[in-house]
């Protein structure tokens, strides 16, 4: 245990090699020491390299971090990674967009030539080809996607930690180690794309399944386009205001209408092929499956309609999350899903694209943060950190200590209740955890007009309909 504490204090990235469960057996002072040392280390390394962080520190009059709370004013607003103006995209100013991203990462982007780049998808591919960055984009609620400059190594670290969580959650080596004993990977989603989930699935296809030949994607050839996601968000925002007719479409996207239309037509065929392949190739086998609840439910309904049920082996693993926000699922949705799948072993996480290490849900229904995440609860009105004791309700903020190339501190848009600072959870794990009730601050009470990752594919489809139907 003392090894874990010393290792994490020295370098949070060493969590990649840790026994995951030990992170939930730390005493309060051990966890705080890891958090404080990590904050100090990241601040010292990144302040000179990231002008925005330096400016924030100067504005806040912060020169050193002496307590965990000292770092709260240095957490970026959740808008930071989408702070570029949309006009950069509309006017094709990918040079400016690159310069903006360069201010948020220590990876040198100065030499990147964006001549000829017209779409976000092309820009992401360019960065991937020329630098260590495997950019991650979010789903954007107003058409603005956050762009997170995660490196290729960090992508690998993220899925490795996830595998260790599955292996160690109920105790060291209590579960299967998918990194050494590969399992077929099933993804009811896109093979190609740059969302956190798709990036993760691709990594898992290699690390968990041992290669793409042992993986099955619903859309094995389709690309989940960041440009379309961006359009979907803007369309939804414009529809909510009754202004959809005024939305202008970027010419580069219009040029790809035929491609999208062809994909739309192939959708039903893709679904049939997916079910056929799942049944033929993996029937009765233990598989690794990763999808959010609403997608799983849709999939299960489709499968049951085709007379398929109990298709996978009993020792399969499902990892999931995302709640059921944005979609109304029947009360027995999990039963329907498990009936179709044939197993019910699952790990549920609270996570966000911005985090490298997510928070697994325990039997008590609480989401536990691993020690490389320093969570805060902020007063929603003042933004001041609430005491790190008892149970606190307010705005969730997080410092992800894992990334050394970008600042992992972020204030979220989520209202949460956090406890576990001083008393362990009834499940026995120590350290701060979230209670199950998590909601967006921007959600109007009684209304729900948000896109989150659970609702995004639907919005993606609607955007393609709009694009294909557009006569501009």
């Amino acid at each position: 245990m003392s090894d874990l504490v010393e290792n994490l204090k020295r370098d949070p990235v060493s969590f990649v090699d840790a026994h995951y469960n030990e992170g939930f057996a730390l005493r309060r002072e051990e966890r705080d020491a890891i958090g404080l040392a990590g904050l100090q280390k990241r601040f010292a390394e990144l302040r000179p390299a990231l002008p925005a962080l330096a400016k924030l520190a100067a504005d806040q009059g912060i020169d050193a971090i002496r307590t965990i709370d000292d770092a709260a004013p240095l957490l970026f607003p959740h808008t930071a990674y989408k702070s570029y103006p949309l006009s950069f995209l509309e006017r094709g100013q990918f040079d400016k967009l690159t310069r903006w991203l360069g201010g948020l990462t220590t990876i040198d982007l100065k030499g990147i030539d964006t001549t000829g780049i017209q779409t976000i998808d092309e820009w992401i591919a360019l960065l991937e080809a020329r630098t260590d960055i495997n950019l991650i984009h979010t789903f954007g609620t107003t058409g603005k996607l956050s762009f997170l400059p995660r490196t290729k190594t960090q992508g690998w670290q993220t899925t490795t930690i996830n595998a260790h969580c599955i292996r160690d959650f109920a105790g060291y080596n209590s579960g299967p180690d998918v990194l050494t004993h590969h399992m077929p990977l099933i993804s009811p989603s896109y093979r190609h794309g740059a969302s956190a989930i798709i990036r993760g699935m691709n990594r898992m296809a290699v690390d968990y399944a041992g290669g793409y030949e042992n993986a099955l994607f619903l859309y094995p050839d389709a690309y989940f386009s960041a440009d379309v996601v961006s359009l979907a968000g803007r369309l939804r925002a414009a529809e909510a205001r009754g202004e959809a007719g005024q939305l202008t479409l970027p010419p580069a996207l219009l040029a790809r209408r035929d491609e999208f239309a062809a994909r739309e037509q192939g959708r039903a065929v893709d679904m049939d092929r997916f079910f056929a392949a799942a049944a033929e190739r993996f029937s009765g086998q233990d598989v690794f499956l990763f999808a959010v609840w609403p997608i799983l439910f849709e999939w299960a309904e489709e499968g049951l309609k085709r007379g398929l049920k109990g298709i996978f082996g009993p020792n399969s693993i499902l990892t999931t999350g995302g709640g059921s926000k944005g979609k109304v699922l029947p009360p027995n949705y999990k039963d329907v899903i498990f009936e179709f799948l044939g197993f019910d072993r699952h790990f549920e996480f609270f996570g966000m694209s911005e985090l490298m290490a997510n928070a697994p849900r325990c039997a008590e229904g609480h989401f536990h943060f691993p020690p490389v995440i320093v969570p805060y609860v902020l007063d929603p009105a003042t933004g001041q950190p609430l005491p790190r004791s008892g149970s606190q309700t307010g705005r969730l903020a997080l410092m992800d200590l894992m990334p050394a190339t970008y600042w992992g501190g972020l204030v979220s848009g989520d209202e949460v209740t956090m406890a576990g600072f001083d008393e362990p959870c009834a499940c026995g794990r120590t350290g701060p955890y979230l209670e199950a009730d998590i909601r967006r601050f921007s959600e109007a009470p009684g209304g729900d007009d948000k896109i989150n990752c659970a609702g995004a594919p639907e919005a993606h489809d609607r955007a393609i309909d709009f694009l294909v139907g557009s006569t501009q």
């Binding site: 925005a52 400016k55 924030l56 504005d59 607003p77 959740h78 808008t79 930071a80 989408k82 702070s83 570029y84 103006p85 949309l86 006009s87 903006w100 201010g103 948020l104 107003t142 603005k144 925002a237 909510a240 205001r241 009754g242 202004e243 005024q246 929603p380 705005r395 204030v411 848009g413 601050f441 921007s442 009470p445 009684g446 209304g447």
Partner: protein, 486 residues
């Protein structure tokens, strides 16, 4: 917060305050109780339109007298109903106490005889309200045409961002001799009720009192709305409010039901190069712009949000825009308390957007925005911020432009008011701005301070649409009979 407030149902002169249903108010914290409206639906609507005849047994002069007498009882200092409404509004409104107080104190003035008479005359015409008006001779000398404006049965779904909306609804209903069911909003459920309750205290059996009801229900309640929005029961729906709410209403539309919408709007500003003529001019422009942005704490649809300034976009132009931004921020901070204050519930999502501007310092310059004091964002190119739609709580975005055309093109049918400087620019642009969709053009500084003279709203004449225009044609009998034979 517990439900300490009761929002009564005011039903044609009756007060029903057996409040059994709890509702959550806006801004998270406040809740209140109201009676179960579904139990009173049949009394709420007028079973037959002929029951409006009692309104025609009184003269318009008597209606003016009645309203004037009511106004005298509406001084917040000695009206307990308004005092209670004020206390609830302090919790639900986006306006600070000092601004709310100013608006409450102004309520009696709306009821003054001359003011109400002027409104009736300008927005409809007293002769049409009072009787049949014979029209000038037509091309057919055998016929005569008379027209009268007759009241209608209407549901009013009113906005709650400023208290005056409910107050004028009551007045307009009275002078048009209409029958109103006023649905109050959760961000101001009591002010209108306080006015009508005072009316009930004064004269519970007066025809005007018997033809106005005030109710709260949660917008979208199927049981209530399906009953109400029926052409057998009402003729008009007059709806203020959000896109989603109005979209929801449209499912009930059918022949015989007229929907008058006062949609959500945004307002803007266009400032010509003349603003930078000299220091004194720039100072005056900053002060006038501060009024357009800051009055009502930017809670109104009339308030300026995006400000197009013909400063130029080269380095010198940006400097000019920045200089205006700096002065605008200072002028906002100096506005008197009864007009504008730091916002008491600054939108945290907007704050996050302001904070994120630090990551694009080359593109935007920010004045203020540290806590709730308001802010001025000066774009360093001719693009507005992506969150222009969220601008509120005294936050404006100055956008420098080279060509005034850029500003003209930004105008659409969601643009309500445009404050303009100088006057010559207003004259030069006004036709084109009107084609583009703008609905109200004002001298810079007048966006939220003028509107004293009754006038059309949002490009329509809501009062003329809220009544029924009935014609009476008379023709000589021999003339008519002659048409039956070849």
């Amino acid at each position: 917060m517990s439900a300490n407030f009761t929002v009564p149902l005011l039903l044609r002169g009756q007060i029903i305050d057996e409040a059994t249903v709890e509702f959550g108010g806006r801004r998270g914290a406040v809740s209140f109780r109201a009676p179960d409206l579904s139990r009173h639906l049949n009394e709420l609507t007028l079973s037959t339109p002929s029951r409006m005849a009692d309104l025609y047994a009184i003269s318009l002069d008597e209606i003016f007298d009645f309203l004037a007498a009511l106004g005298k009882r509406l001084h917040p200092a000695d009206n307990p109903h308004l005092q209670q409404a004020f206390e609830l509004s302090r919790l639900t409104s986006g306006l600070s106490d000092s601004i709310l107080r100013h608006h409450y104190d102004a309520i009696p003035s709306f009821f003054e005889r001359d003011i109400v008479r002027d409104l009736a005359e300008r927005l409809i015409g007293i002769d049409y309200l009072e009787g049949w008006v014979e029209q000038p001779a037509t091309l057919l000398p055998e016929t005569r045409l008379s027209i009268r404006a007759v009241g209608a049965r209407a549901v009013h779904i009113i906005a709650g961002n400023v208290p005056v909306v409910g107050v004028t609804t009551v007045i307009r209903n009275a002078v048009t001799r209409s029958d109103a069911i006023i649905k109050t909003p959760s961000n101001d459920p009591l002010t209108t009720a306080a006015v009508v309750r005072t009316m009930i205290d004064m004269a519970p059996d007066h025809p005007i009192t018997r033809h106005v009801s005030v109710a709260y229900w949660k917008g979208g309640d199927q049981q209530i709305e399906a009953h109400l929005y029926d052409p057998g029961r009402i003729e008009k729906i007059i709806a203020w409010g959000g896109f989603a709410g109005i979209k929801h209403l449209t499912q009930y539309l059918q022949p015989g039901l007229d929907l008058i919408t006062l949609d959500p709007k945004h307002s803007a500003t266009i400032i010509g190069l003349e603003a930078f003529a000299d220091d004194a001019t720039l100072d005056s422009i900053a002060k006038r712009l501060a009024l357009d942005v800051g009055v009502l704490n930017q809670e109104g649809c009339v308030n300026a949000r995006v400000v197009y300034v013909q400063s130029g976009t080269d380095a010198a132009g940006l400097e000019r825009a920045n200089a205006l931004g700096k002065r605008l921020f200072a002028a906002l901070q100096s506005l008197p308390d009864h007009l504008s204050t730091p916002h008491k519930a600054f939108d945290p999502e907007l704050k996050a957007e302001l904070d994120a501007l630090a990551f694009v310092e080359d593109e935007f310059r920010l004045y203020g925005g540290r806590t709730n004091e308001g802010a001025v964002i000066v774009s360093q190119s001719d693009s507005s911020v992506d969150f222009a739609r969220m601008l509120a709580c005294r936050v404006a975005n100055i956008v420098p432009i080279d060509d005034i055309e850029t500003a003209v093109r930004s105008v659409n049918s969601y643009t309500q008011t445009i404050g303009i400087f100088p006057e010559s620019l207003k004259l030069a642009l006004r036709d084109r701005l009107a084609f583009q969709g703008a609905q109200r053009l004002v001298s810079l500084g007048g966006a939220a301070t003028l509107m004293r003279t009754p006038q059309p709203q949002d490009g329509i004449e809501p009062l003329r649409r809220s009544v029924k225009w009935i014609t009476d044609e008379t023709a000589d009998g021999d003339y008519l009979a002659s048409m039956a034979v070849s």
